[in-house]
Amino acid sequence: MAEELSREELKEKVVEYLKTVDKAKNKDIATKLGVKKREVDKAVNELAKEDIVEFLYIGTSYVKLKDK
C-alpha cells in the first residue's frame, strides 16, 4: 500500500480486518494491511484505550475486537 494512511484511517482498517478473524497478532495485521508493525502497534494502543479492542494472551499476544 503506497499511500500514507492517517492514524484514524489505519484504526478503521484494523477494525475492519479484525471483523474478519477471531483474533490476530499485530505483526500479521501489519503484513495484511501492508504497513509497518510499529504503526499498527500505535493504532491498536489507541483502540485499546478506546475500549474497542482487547488483548488475549495464549503464549503470545493477540488482539481481538471487544465483545466479538
Partner: protein, 355 residues
C-alpha cells in the same frame, strides 16, 4: 461513562514514600556497619545515622499483617518501611534506642529478625500450588519447611559467606533461581498427556509445534491435534504454557531437583549458574522431609569446609566438582552430564582432576 479510571499513571512516586532521614541524605551515604544479625547501620556524610531492622517474611502476607507492619512503622519509624527483593520487611529507624524494643515486639509475634551479612538470606520463591497452573512442586510449603529447619542460620551471621537459597516450582523459573547458592527446582519427568479435543479447541497448532525446543511435537492433522516424540521430549512444559491441552503435571513423577553453586554478585568471582547436585527427590507434602534433609546436608558441608568469605560455588570451584560429590556423598550419574545444546564446553578436556 462516569468515573472512568485514569490509566497509565504509573506507580506511586518513590520520593513520596521515603522517610525524612533518607530524603535528607539521598546519595550522601558514607559507609555502613553490621550492628548485629538483622540490624544494619548506615552513616551519612553529615553524620546522620540510619538503622535498618530486617524481618523475614514468607512473602505471602495478609493485609492484616501488612497493617500490623504499618502500625510498627508508625510507632518506631516515623511512618515508613520498605521491602527487599527477597521478601524481607525492613524497618528504618533513626533512634538507636528503639531497636531492641522493635525487635522484641516483632519477635514476640513470631517474626524473625536476621538475614544480614554472612547469614542465610530469606528464601525467594514462586507461587507453587497456591496459585500456579504449571507447578511441579509446591513453593510456600517447601520454603516454610526449609526455613524452619535452617532458622538459626537466618538468625546468626557467622556463615563462611552469605547463603542464598531460592525455589522455583517449575522450570519456567518465575523465580529465576538458576544463579543461587542452592536452588530448589520443581521438575516434571514424563511426557505431556495429549487431550486431542482440548488441543483442537484451545490451541494454535503452529504455535504449539514451534514452542518445543527439541522439535518433538508434530501436527496431527487427522485429529486437528499434535503428536509428541517421546524420546525427544525433555519435559520442559513449554508446550503446556501455550496449550492447555498438553497437561504435563504428573503427581507420581513430579518432584524436586537441587542445584548448587550459583551467584549473581561480581565480588571476587563473576556471576555463575547453579549446577545439578541432586536430580530428583519426590514430592513429600506437607513437610518435604527428604528435601529438607538434603539441603541441611549441603549447607552443613559448606559451613564445615569452606574458607571464610567463600560462597558455595567458589568453594566447589576451589576443591573441584569430583571432590564435592565425594564429600557430599552424592552419587554422580548420567543425569548430571549436560546433554542439551550447550553441553560440550561443560565437558572436561584436560587431564587435571582429583581422586
Amino acid at each position: 461513562m462516569t468515573n472512568v479510571a485514569k490509566t497509565d499513571i504509573g506507580p506511586p512516586l518513590y520520593k513520596d514514600q521515603l522517610p525524612e532521614i533518607i530524603k535528607n541524605n539521598y546519595g550522601q551515604w558514607k559507609y555502613h556497619e553490621h550492628v548485629k544479625p538483622g540490624v544494619l547501620k548506615h552513616v551519612a556524610e553529615n553524620g546522620d545515622e540510619l538503622y535498618t531492622v530486617r524481618v523475614g517474611s514468607p512473602r505471602l502476607l495478609s493485609v492484616e499483617t501488612l497493617r500490623w507492619f504499618a502500625d510498627l512503622a508508625d510507632k518506631y519509624c516515623d511512618g515508613h518501611l520498605r521491602f527487599t527483593s527477597r521478601h524481607n520487611v525492613e524497618f528504618l529507624l533513626t533512634d538507636a534506642s528503639k531497636i531492641d524494643a522493635l525487635i522484641e515486639e516483632v519477635e514476640a509475634e513470631g517474626w524473625p529478625v536476621g538475614g544480614t551479612g554472612n547469614s542465610l538470606k530469606n528464601l525467594i520463591h514462586t507461587q507453587g500450588w497456591i496459585h500456579c497452573h504449571s507447578a511441579a512442586i509446591d513453593a510456600s510449603g517447601i520454603v516454610k519447611s526449609v526455613m524452619d529447619d535452617l532458622y538459626d542460620y537466618f538468625k546468626k551471621d557467622d556463615l563462611p559467606a552469605k547463603l542464598k537459597i531460592s525455589l522455583a516450582c517449575c522450570l519456567n523459573m518465575c523465580g529465576a533461581v538458576h544463579c543461587s547458592d542452592i536452588a530448589i527446582l520443581g521438575i516434571h519427568r514424563t511426557v505431556p498427556k495429549i487431550n486431542d479435543e482440548e488441543v483442537s479447541k484451545a490451541c494454535e497448532i503452529p504455535n504449539v509445534v514451534a514452542s518445543c525446543p527439541t522439535g518433538a511435537i508434530r501436527p496431527n492433522p487427522k485429529k486437528k491435534s499434535v503428536t509428541i516424540n517421546e524420546e525427544k521430549c525433555m519435559y520442559c512444559g513449554n508446550c503446556f504454557t501455550v496449550c492447555p491441552g498438553l497437561k504435563i503435571m504428573d503427581p507420581d513423577n513430579d518432584g524436586v531437583a537441587i542445584f548448587v553453586g550459583g551467584k549473581t554478585s561480581n565480588a571476587r568471582s563473576g556471576p555463575r549458574f547453579s549446577r545439578l547436585a541432586i536430580p530428583f527427590i519426590p514430592n513429600e507434602p506437607p513437610r518435604w522431609d527428604s528435601t529438607v534433609k538434603a539441603i541441611r546436608n549441603l549447607v552443613e558441608l559448606w559451613v564445615e569446609n569452606a574458607r571464610p568469605g567463600e560462597r558455595y560455588g567458589e568453594w566447589i570451584e576451589r576443591i573441584g566438582w569430583e571432590k564435592f560429590f565425594d564429600m557430599a556423598g552424592l552419587p554422580f550419574t548420567d543425569k548430571h552430564i549436560d546433554d542439551f545444546i550447550f553441553s560440550v564446553p561443560t565437558f572436561r578436556s584436560t587431564t587435571q582432576f582429583k581422586y
